[in-house]
Symmetry: C2
Subunit: 379 residues, 2 copies
């Protein structure tokens, strides 16, 4: 588990100015407002909140979310679950398929350890082979593994595409001694970044229709799904309003990013603030451009280049260690530039430590270092 780099420790209590660049900086005030807004939303709508920790990969932040009412967290990988459990998170849903024997061995050990301390591990499945492997790995487990059957509700990635297959998998799970049929995983990834509320509503409506149909087939067969879980930061208000989803998995809302900032948000949805920034400094200047010292080894560009916070500057190119900026009023050599990453999840995964700042980016100071416990946890 990576520990915050020693180099950063002297920063606690120091002004923001003292943070060397590039660095991943979290505005703790904004983050905590985001955290409370989503917790309040879930509470108000009577749905459970299980934030996706694939975004922050931090046990500390997961515990902070749970202290505010979240039932647990999601992750995508067995090794992420291991890292968060080691950091004190006791309720984890791997919202993804796991088939490899080596991984299932690790998960069995993890599940047993979690169960012994009143924790709970859960997993998604979308194939008969997957259930078969799980059933074998957990046949003699002291505590059952919660298993969700994943539906492909529109992304065209993982998940089964028809209710009959979902039923067959649910029956297979229900018949396995070490497994418990926990419900349906129904996340529509492709819906998250449709820009208008209208487009997202249409996409989620289709997802809900498939879930309703599947639920009817399962209920008919005496296997009503105990829970329907899914949703992301771009769509959670729609799933919450559906009356079908009992649990929301949004994760990005805590930090936000330039891509989610491009979504038009409905008036009945909470507004989230940008809380994750890359602090960068200008290291080279031309007459018409400036170059800062953070490139795509500092911030992921899979969802587009970063934007610049609080300055009329455009990022026009990113390479591994540089970002090129243009604008009418270019910053001078050495000036600070705050980049808003295009995509928060893979950006966080580039850093071992997030620097938590209290009091804003201008006059604030470093309050604490947040370890990215599951950074690089790919397996």
């Amino acid at each position: 588990m990576p520990q915050p780099s020693d180099d950063w420790h002297g920063l606690i209590g120091q002004p923001v100015d003292h943070i060397d660049t590039p660095a991943a900086v979290v505005d703790l005030d904004a983050m905590e407002r985001n955290l409370q807004r989503m917790a309040a939303f879930a509470h108000r709508h009577g749905v459970r909140l299980r934030p996706h920790a694939k975004m922050h990969k931090s046990a500390e932040l997961a515990r902070q979310q749970m202290a505010a009412g979240a039932v647990g967290v999601c992750v995508q990988k067995a090794s992420e679950a291991q890292a968060l459990w080691a950091g004190g998170v006791h309720n984890i849903f791997i919202s993804n398929q796991v088939l490899a024997a080596e991984k299932l061995e690790r998960l069995r050990t993890l599940s047993d350890a979690m169960a012994a301390q009143d924790g709970q591990l859960a997993l998604a499945v979308d194939s008969a082979l997957g259930v078969h492997r799980l059933a074998r790995a957990f046949a003699d487990a002291p505590a059952a593994l919660d298993v969700f059957v994943e539906l492909d509700v529109g992304q065209g990635r993982c998940g089964v595409s028809d209710a009959a297959t979902a039923l067959a998998l649910a029956q297979q799970v229900a018949a396995a001694p070490g497994l418990r049929f926990a419900g349906v995983q129904a996340y529509h990834g492709a819906a998250q970044h449709l820009r208008s509320s209208h487009e997202r509503a249409a996409a989620v409506q289709q997802a809900v229709a498939f879930v309703v149909q599947t639920r009817a087939v399962l209920t008919q067969a005496q296997l009503p799904p105990p829970l329907v879980t899914g949703a992301g930061t771009g769509s959670f208000a729609l799933e919450a309003a559906s009356g079908v989803y009992g649990e929301l998995q949004a994760g990005s809302y805590l930090f936000m990013d330039a891509d989610y900032a491009r979504n038009q948000v409905g008036t009945d949805e909470p507004q989230f603030e940008q809380a994750l920034f890359i602090k960068a400094a200008v290291m080279s200047r031309g007459p018409k451009h400036a170059v800062c010292d953070a490139g795509h080894k500092s911030h992921a560009i899979d969802s587009g280049l970063p934007t610049v916070w609080g300055q009329a500057l455009q990022c026009v190119a990113c390479s591994d260690e540089h970002t090129t900026l243009r604008g009418a009023a270019l910053p001078a050599l050495g000036d600070t530039v705050w980049l808003v990453p295009g995509h928060c999840d893979p950006t966080v995964n580039l850093h071992d430590t997030l620097i938590g700042v209290r009091g804003g980016l201008v006059r604030g100071q470093v309050e604490r270092l947040i370890a990215v416990d599951a950074r690089g946890a790919l397996r």
Copy 2:
């Protein structure tokens, strides 16, 4: 400095089949052939080789390159230099600008330590402020810092754009007690991925013309540049043939990637083999697609999606933890897929450990673990 994860240690001597997924795997035979081919090329053309270690970030591989004749390595960041020095690399050129006081303090400490063991640190500069800061930091240094004046030879990123400015900086360097004017840094990043030899030749010809002009101006002023350094894996044969460049900085040739594989290579250039792979496994199957367990947290997609090695499959989408594959003969659940990353440098930066395999990807076995010493070294 990250150590290879304990999980991997049991793998040494095991067959490739036993490597859990996703994992960054290096075909050591292919890598060593690449290493020898480039070393032989440089030797044959009478130019120095200083491979860019921003690609592999590994002290072990840097030392292997130097054992085959490289004079040292390049890096982009002060913290990369620190990590490689800690791993026994004693000749390092930071081919980039450093302005921040905190970083210069670290570099002064590093330079002093290196000089005390017959090592040498070098740095690029492209501004008067940059030289001023360097001069102050190294004023009383026991050993001079080698300083290269960077020219913008076509990328439009860092570097000065005219010979007069280059001369002014060289004079400023030469006048500073702790600095030594070491020559000219002239890397044409944009030329590397022009697809035809013809386009690359035209781009490098322009770069060479600017270097020649600058060299004349410097020579006229009694400051002939001791060395012109630059070039990358897409263009090094052109710089070597120019008669102007004395040192080649190519880095990607050691591992290669899907982007460089798209370059048409001239008949007089050495051919490099793909040596870096992401081992992935199919975790979900639809009727017309397969999903493997490596996404862009495993392999960088800034230069395009990965290709699939040895199978007629196309990567059609990557998300954080998944890659979706299409093709006529789709692999089955659990099957291994070898991905060739779009871009090697930022891919390596996602991994703490590279798994070195001897004897090929099919029948080979794990020979050793290669620590990515400077993974995440951003500052």
